[in-house]
């Protein structure tokens, strides 16, 4: 039973079709990959899912409810969390407070009482950020900064975690640790949706992969199926190579 489904999502900017009839599903306990060349519409689809981009037509269902008209905040409160391709960190706060404030927000929104500070330390430990917790977040290199965004999203204990190129800027060893973290998060029951250019990472972590090209979904399936798809090879490598 998918946590998230998009139905025929279409987004046009003036005459440009950014997304054309895209339907995907994301299931709990799995990492679902979303790949495609630059400009394929991956981030636009994320923006549609999180409510930051209105659809021209089509809809989004989250936990069996139609959320197409919901604000980003309402979707966030309902259990979506995301990271941003162009980092959206809270630059005036330390690494620890960047993570902690997510807990502050959750606590201010719900009646549930929990120890924000304790959960912050758990999440920092789990994401391997304890050694830089007291630094200004602006002092981190991009790779670590992306992990802070993931940690921040984890603080909300999301049902659906959307990661927009979390591994870009990471070193090879960072990226390996990150893959383990992803599998662990999904293993705990969270539905993870991953936009990523690091194909080894995608192939290693994802159960299902959707491939976008020029706003259209050109393939969906297991890593092996997608790798074998002629349409995918054409989109990535070009016509001549397949000829």
């Amino acid at each position: 039973m998918p946590v998230l489904e998009t139905h025929g999502v279409t987004v046009t900017f003036g005459g440009n079709v950014a997304l054309d009839d895209v339907s995907i599903a994301v299931r709990p306990g799995e990492v679902t990959g979303l790949i495609g060349p630059n400009g394929a519409g991956k981030t636009t689809l994320f923006n549609v899912i999180t409510g930051m981009q209105p659809v021209t037509s089509g809809g989004v269902r989250f936990q069996d409810r139609d959320v197409t008209r919901w604000s980003p905040g309402r979707r966030g409160r309902a259990g979506m969390a995301r990271t941003f391709q162009r980092l959206e960190l809270f630059l005036s706060l330390s690494v620890r407070d960047n993570v902690r404030v997510a807990g502050d927000i959750v606590r201010s929104n719900t009646r549930r009482r929990f120890d924000v500070a304790a959960r912050t330390e758990q999440v920092l430990a789990r994401t391997g950020l304890l050694d830089v917790a007291d630094l200004d977040v602006s002092a981190l290199p991009t790779g670590r900064a992306r992990v802070v965004e993931v940690a921040r999203a984890l603080m909300t204990e999301p049902v659906l975690l959307l990661l927009d190129e979390p591994a870009s800027g990471q070193t090879e060893s960072e990226s390996e640790t990150f893959a383990e973290l992803l599998l662990e998060i999904a293993g705990a029951g969270t539905a993870v949706c991953l936009v990523e250019h690091d194909l080894p990472l995608v192939m290693q972590t994802c159960t299902t992969i959707h491939v976008l090209d020029h706003g259209r979904l050109i393939a969906s399936g297991t890593p092996a199926e997608v790798q074998a798809s002629p349409a995918v090879i054409e989109a990535y490598i070009g016509q001549e190579a397949t000829a």
């Binding site: 604000s71 905040g73 966030g76 941003f84 959206e88 960190l89 630059l91 002092a139 290199p141």
Partner: protein, 737 residues
């Protein structure tokens, strides 16, 4: 029918002037991303210069126009762009607003220096007042017809510029992505400079045309507020569309003349309402504007602040109270009054720190809320018939509460929009307060009580009395006010370090990420705005008590703008920034002028010199505000950075504190005056970091190589060092080897 046509024609003329002013504003905003608050002030300078050229120098009209439109307008635009605006890339909206506000204040004080505001100047109509033409039975002056013709010509010209010329398209590109424009071989600076030159010329043109149409004499403040009228018109086009801006301008113009023409005679408030109309329209349009989409900002701004931990802040709070009261004991009772005004300004500035420094929202009219609080406190909490009246605690609480509620109401329409709109809404609110409340001197009946909102345009604010505390005594007042400031300051720091404060910071740094985490931005913004205007109201009531006799000028928008500007200059992220800014705005400038005045009295031969210094002081304040473009974190930030070195050498720090106490005791013994004490203390604390470095040279841990050049300057020497350590053979390396 004839009257209808007359009002329509006059409305079109007024609308035409709004349109000319507004189109300049839209032009600079769309091309540079900077909303020019000084637009009205530029119009004002244009109007005065034209008067000077035409009437005082008796130049022919055409030559006067060439001077104003051909030289002054473009010149001012070019200077603004070259000296100021192009340094504003990568700054927060607060910084951008403050810099143009500083330009506004600078131009106003400059104009009052050159053109004595006591003299009445009636600017001439172009073609004279006697050249008239009859159109459909309505007699119009050439000047009025000309306004409409010029506006129409500008509309066509701008449409053509933006849609049909290369430079116009480039101007639109310049704001979206200057880097990309540079890559395609264009110079964004030059394009933006030409936009500023045109925009500024349009401002000046509006200034030359407006006063003869509106009637009356040239008034610097009224002309400066033309920016709000123009903004109301520009808002119709969301600050982007020139045609819609013209529609807005015409609606405003017709609205104001119909209002005067057709409102029933018993509506005594219509005259005041007409002045406030553009601001009221502004609120209505703000309410109707569509919600803005959340999008990632992802810009890295240059502003940085540190918040002290609570125990250290508490220590400072105690030191602050003791220091202020001790200093108060050294000066005469009249000067204590000045110090009190300064401290109450500091409380008002604290509201700016909370709102702008912590939450990233803008309030350009804290004194507007101070005025509301003062009026409510006065009417609720004092008995005007008593021989020696006192203000009750009920009055104080009511005043603060109403200020907070008013704040929430003012913010409501603008909260869904970007910070700039909120800033403009508050400025408009301040305009409404001065145009309607503070001019309302006729009796009104409300809830069965008949009272005058602002009797005789001046009220005497009675001092507060709560239990044993009677603020009629200056020393008690000083104790109470400094304790109040310290407590509020401590509260604000505690707030910043709390969950609420972190959420404010999150909203300020990335609204998109905060919303995605589930934060209800509106609720947070509304709450912090109400809290901040409540504090402004509290400070305002104390200010009124310290000033005693308050009038509309006490709460003028220039006072508000100076205070906000000085708070940013000092450091908007710091409580100490509020203290220093408040003291400078409320007490510092006054005291300096008093001191200079005293010297001028004893040495009459220097009077002219002191007169110049007096004006220079005001202009210099504005120049300091413009300097914010270079150090957007404020000067206290740099001071703290230097003082941080002292932490390594506690000996020097405690030594400094001991010397400070000794200085204070010496002052009490009469060995040095209060002014000298202040001066020596400032010198002492600015020298201490140097002493500390000399005592114990900085042996800080070296920065890891990969971080060098990121937070430190990226120099050639550094690059060579990196090459050396990575053993990269470079040409320079070969040359050395």
């Amino acid at each position: 029918m004839d009257t209808f046509l007359t009002y329509t024609a006059l409305g079109l003329v007024v609308g035409a002037i709004y349109a000319i002013a507004a189109s300049g504003l839209v032009l600079t905003y769309t091309t540079s991303g900077i909303f020019n608050f000084a637009h009205g002030a530029q119009a004002m300078i244009g109007a005065f210069t034209f008067y000077q050229a035409r009437v005082v120098w008796e130049l022919p009209t055409w030559l006067a126009l060439v001077v104003v439109l051909g030289v002054l307008g473009p010149g001012m635009g070019w200077l603004l762009h070259t000296l100021i605006m192009r340094r504003l890339r990568d700054t927060e909206i607060v910084t951008r607003v403050v810099v143009t506000v500083a330009v506004l204040l600078g131009l106003v004080s400059l104009s009052q220096w050159v053109w004595n505001p006591q003299e009445g100047r009636v600017p001439p109509m172009l073609f004279g007042a006697d050249s008239t033409v009859d159109l459909l039975g309505v007699t119009l002056r050439y000047h009025q017809v000309l306004c409409v013709v010029i506006a129409a010509a500008i509309a066509v010209a701008l449409w053509w510029l933006f849609n049909r010329t290369r430079i116009g398209v480039l101007m639109r590109a310049a704001v979206d992505d200057p880097e990309l424009l540079k890559l395609s071989g264009h110079d964004p600076d030059r394009i933006s400079a030409s936009a500023w030159m045109i925009g500024s010329t349009l401002a000046v043109l509006a200034g030359v045309l407006v006063t003869p149409v509106m009637g009356g004499t040239l008034e610097a403040n009224a002309l400066t507020l033309l920016v709000v009228d123009a903004f109301a018109a520009a808002l119709f086009g969301r600050l982007r569309s020139i045609p819609l801006t013209f529609v807005g301008a015409v609606v405003l113009g017709l609205g104001s003349t119909y209002l005067v023409g057709y409102a029933p005679a018993e509506w005594t408030w219509v005259g005041n309402f007409q002045r406030a109309l553009p601001m009221v329209v502004l609120f209505v349009v703000l309410l109707l504007l569509p919600h803005e989409r959340l999008r990632g900002t992802a810009t890295r701004s240059r502003e940085r602040y540190q918040t002290p931990p609570l125990p250290r802040a508490a220590l400072w709070a105690v030191a602050c109270v003791i220091g202020l009261v001790a200093f108060g004991g050294l000066i005469s009772e009249a000067r204590v009054g000045t110090l009190l005004v300064g401290l109450s300004f500091a409380v008002i500035a604290l509201s700016v720190v909370l709102l702008t420094g912590y939450a990233g929202e803008l309030n350009l009219a804290p004194l507007g809320f101070a005025a509301v609080a003062t009026l409510v406190a006065y009417h609720v909490g004092s008995d005007a018939t008593a021989a020696d009246p006192r203000l009750s605690l009920t009055g104080l609480v009511a005043g603060v509460a109403v200020a907070a509620i008013t704040g929430a109401l003012v913010a409501l329409p603008a909260l869904r929009l970007r910070g700039l709109y909120l800033a403009l809404a508050t400025l408009a609110f301040s305009g409404i307060v001065s145009a309607m409340l503070l001019r309302d001197t006729t009796p009104r009946t409300l809830f069965g009580h008949t009272f005058v909102i602002f009797p005789n345009g001046n009220i005497l604010m009675p001092p507060l009395e709560v239990g044993p505390l009677d603020l009629a005594d200056a020393t008690t007042f000083l104790w109470v006010l400094s304790t109040l400031f310290a407590t509020l300051g401590l509260g604000v720091v505690a707030l910043r370090n709390s969950s609420y404060g972190r959420r404010l910071a999150a909203m300020k740094d990335s609204p998109a990420a905060a919303a995605m985490l589930g934060q209800r931005l509106m609720v947070l913004k509304l709450g912090v705005f109400a809290l901040s205007t409540g504090i402004a109201g509290l400070g305002g009531i104390f200010m009124s008590m310290a000033v005693v006799s308050v009038s509309a000028e006490t709460f003028g928008f220039t006072v508000s703008l100076s205070l906000v500007m000085l708070t940013v200059v000092c450091g908007i992220g710091y409580v100490s920034g509020a203290l220093v800014a408040g003291l400078i705005a409320g007490a510092g400038i006054t005291s300096l002028q008093l001191v200079l005045g005293d010297i001028a009295l004893t040495h009459p031969e220097y009077r002219d010199t002191f007169d110049i210094v007096h004006h220079l002081l005001l202009v210099a304040t504005a120049l300091v505000g413009i300097g914010v473009a270079n150090g957007p974190s404020g000067f206290l930030h740099d001071v703290f950075e230097r003082q941080r070195g002292l932490a390594r050498v506690p000996f020097v720090r405690w030594g400094g504190a001991a010397v400070q106490v000794a200085l204070l005791l010496a002052a009490y013994a009469g060995l040095l005056g209060p002014a000298l004490l202040l001066f020596v203390s400032v010198v002492l604390w600015s020298l201490l970091p140097a002493v500390a470095t000399a005592w114990a040279p900085d042996r800080a841990r070296p920065l890891p190589l990969e971080l060098e050049g990121i937070t430190t300057p990226n120099t050639l020497a550094l690059r060579q060092r990196i090459d050396r350590e990575l053993r990269i053979e470079t040409e320079a390396g070969h040359a050395r080897a």
